[in-house]
Structures are given as structure tokens and as C-alpha cells.
Subunit: 205 residues, 2 copies
């Protein structure tokens, strides 16, 4: 496979490399110092570039962090957007259990970065808003899966897909934060089975 960067003119290749060096340095500094204590000076020093150059790519620390969050979230979206076409309640249960496991496992694989995300949400309104938008994308996708299950007559017809998706995402999100912050407090398997049983028991006929 050819790397698409190699096809670009030299100046654009350089630009992409600088941007990616800033992101890499940013991630290291955020992981080391947390969000609030990290500074742009630390990041450009580590990326071996200047303020002016950095500013071309990222207006400020929040914007750089949001780009890192987006990279991280793309992995989560892949889980959320897994095909969901169950033919039976049992199949739905197995699919959903698998999704919950992948979602929680991803968060634990990126545990240190997720801790910084949590800190950043609390202190930066821009990042809080970004998290809000990420959440809405998950909820929208879950609503689609619920509507599918209702059309298939697997799920109860009287439930509102969008509110149900929201409640379900909230439980998952909050358990995810709990696991990220206190990994040893819970047995991951118990959390997964309990969440999935409650959800499919409530939603499916």
C-alpha cells in the first residue's frame, strides 16, 4: 500500500508532519500533566516548533485537545456503528453484550487519556460541548438500532427510541467513567452482563 502522504507536494507533507508532531507532543504532555496544568509552551517545546507555527494548526490548547479527543472517539464510533441486524431476542442480547464489552474495553485501553478527557470536560466549556456532541452521535446511532428492532417486532412498540437510547447510553457512559476512575471496584464481566440484561429485558418483547 502507498502511504497517501507520499503523494502530496513536499510543503504539504511537511505541514502534515508538523501537525502530527504537535498532536503527539500534546498527547504526551496532557498525559504527563493533566489538562489544566498542560501549556502550549510545553507542547511546542516537545514538538520542536514555534508558537507561530503551532498557531497555524491549533488556535489554543483546547482545540489541540479536541483533535486528540476526535482521534480517540473514532475508535469508539467504530464500535457504535457495528452492523446490528438481529433476528431474535437472544441474538440481540449477544450483539449488544459484545458492543458493551468493546466499548468498556476501549475506554480501559485508553484509561489514562480518558482520565484527562474527564478532567478537561469539567473545566473547558468547549470540551464539554464537544463531549455533548459525541454523546449525541452515539445516541442517534443507538436510536437507529432500536427502531430496527421495533420494525422487526423484537422490541416493545410503545417505547420511544430516542429516549430509550439516551437512557441506555447514560448507563454505559457512567459505568465507563466509573471503570476508568476506579478500575478495581468492579468486575467488568458482571457490569457487562447486568447492563445488557437490564436493557434487553426492558426493551425486548
Amino acid at each position: 500500500m502507498t502511504n497517501s502522504i507520499d503523494q502530496l507536494p513536499a510543503r504539504q507533507q511537511q505541514a502534515l508532519k508538523t501537525r502530527s508532531r504537535l498532536l503527539k507532543a500534546g498527547k504526551e504532555i496532557f498525559l504527563e500533566n493533566g489538562f489544566q496544568k498542560a501549556t502550549i509552551s510545553q507542547i511546542i517545546k516537545k514538538a520542536k516548533t514555534g508558537y507561530g507555527t503551532a498557531y497555524v494548526y491549533f488556535k489554543n490548547k483546547d482545540e489541540l485537545f479536541i483533535t486528540l479527543m476526535e482521534d480517540l472517539m473514532n475508535q469508539f464510533y467504530e464500535v457504535a456503528e457495528m452492523p446490528f441486524k438481529p433476528q431474535t431476542k437472544d441474538e440481540a442480547y449477544e450483539n449488544i453484550k459484545k458492543q458493551v464489552r468493546l466499548f468498556l474495553q476501549l475506554a480501559l485501553d485508553e484509561q489514562d487519556m480518558m482520565k484527562v478527557v474527564k478532567e478537561a470536560i469539567g473545566v473547558s466549556p468547549e470540551i464539554d460541548h464537544k463531549w455533548y456532541m459525541i454523546r449525541e452521535r452515539f445516541i442517534e446511532r443507538i436510536s437507529v438500532d432500536i427502531r430496527y428492532a421495533q420494525v422487526q417486532k423484537l422490541a416493545k412498540q410503545h417505547l420511544d427510541p430516542s429516549l430509550t437510547a439516551r437512557g441506555w447510553f447514560y448507563s454505559n457512559e457512567m459505568f465507563m467513567w466509573e471503570l476508568v476512575m476506579n478500575e478495581d471496584k468492579y468486575k467488568m464481566d458482571d457490569v457487562i452482563v447486568n447492563l445488557t440484561s437490564m436493557y434487553t429485558g426492558g426493551l425486548y418483547e
Copy 2:
């Protein structure tokens, strides 16, 4: 009814009055300026007292705010601690629906103060911890109700009371914040019915 303050020696009466004046002034300042922008100077000025006096009652802004949160939470605890002794699944559904409504309604009645609580949780680790402890108290109480329903053979035996209580509280809490921040985005009745249906459908036989 005699007011119990009247029974105390004059000096203690004075102390209680000062403390309560500080709390009242604090609440007004927090509602006006938000948590971060509020200062102890503004509060003591409004309470017509001095720094030294204020310090006797509250070590800092966070401590005064936590006391206000506790007063607010006592109203919520009353809802959480309502007797729960259903004999049938339908009775459980009605009881739970009523509790959810009271919980969300209380949050909306105190909407402005809850917004300040949300802001404060994000920026003060002490207040974040306090909120964590409040949440644990709710979850503990819900676990008791779930165990009761399991003993009565109304609720599914294989579900873990504590994890189920946690997931349920999370959904309620997050909808509560959503309603507090964007009241007009949802129909409260739809939220209550959907939450309660999903929960009782998942938990009860």
C-alpha cells in the same frame, strides 16, 4: 410550636443566626455569579459580617457551598427514602414512576441552584467528591428496594442489586442534568414513562 433556636443561650443563638445569614448570602451570590466567579468577599459583604467571623463557620467557599448542597440534597433524600413495599409489579411500577417524577420535579424546582452545582462539580474536587458520596447514598438506598423486590419474588433473581441500582441511578441522574440544562428539549412525562418502563421491564418478572 416552639422554635428550638429560642431555647439556646443568647451567644449560641447569635452564632446560629450568623451562620444562617452566611448561608443565605452565599446562596444569593452563587445564584448571581455562578460558583467560580463567586468570592468570599462578596458573601461576607452581603451577610454583613467579617472574614474572621465567616472563617469560624466555613473554611472556604467550597465548604460553604457543600453545606448548601447538603440542604438541597436532604429534599432529594426524602424522595429516595419513601417507603417501597409493592405487592405486585404494577404497584412497583406506579411507586417508581412517582419517585422519578418527584426526583426530576425537585431538580427543576431548584433548577438555578442545580446549574451552579453542576458547574461546581466540574471545577472543585471537593465538591465532585461530595456529589460522588451523595450518589452512593442514593444507590445504596435503591439497592435495598431491589433486594426487597427480589425477596418478594417480584424482581428477577439473577440481577445484581447494587449494579442494577447504579445503572438506574445513572439514567435518572443524567436525565435530571439534561432537564436542568435544557428544560424545553424534553416532555417530562415522556421521560418519566420511558425511564420507568425500561427499568421495571428489565428488573421485574
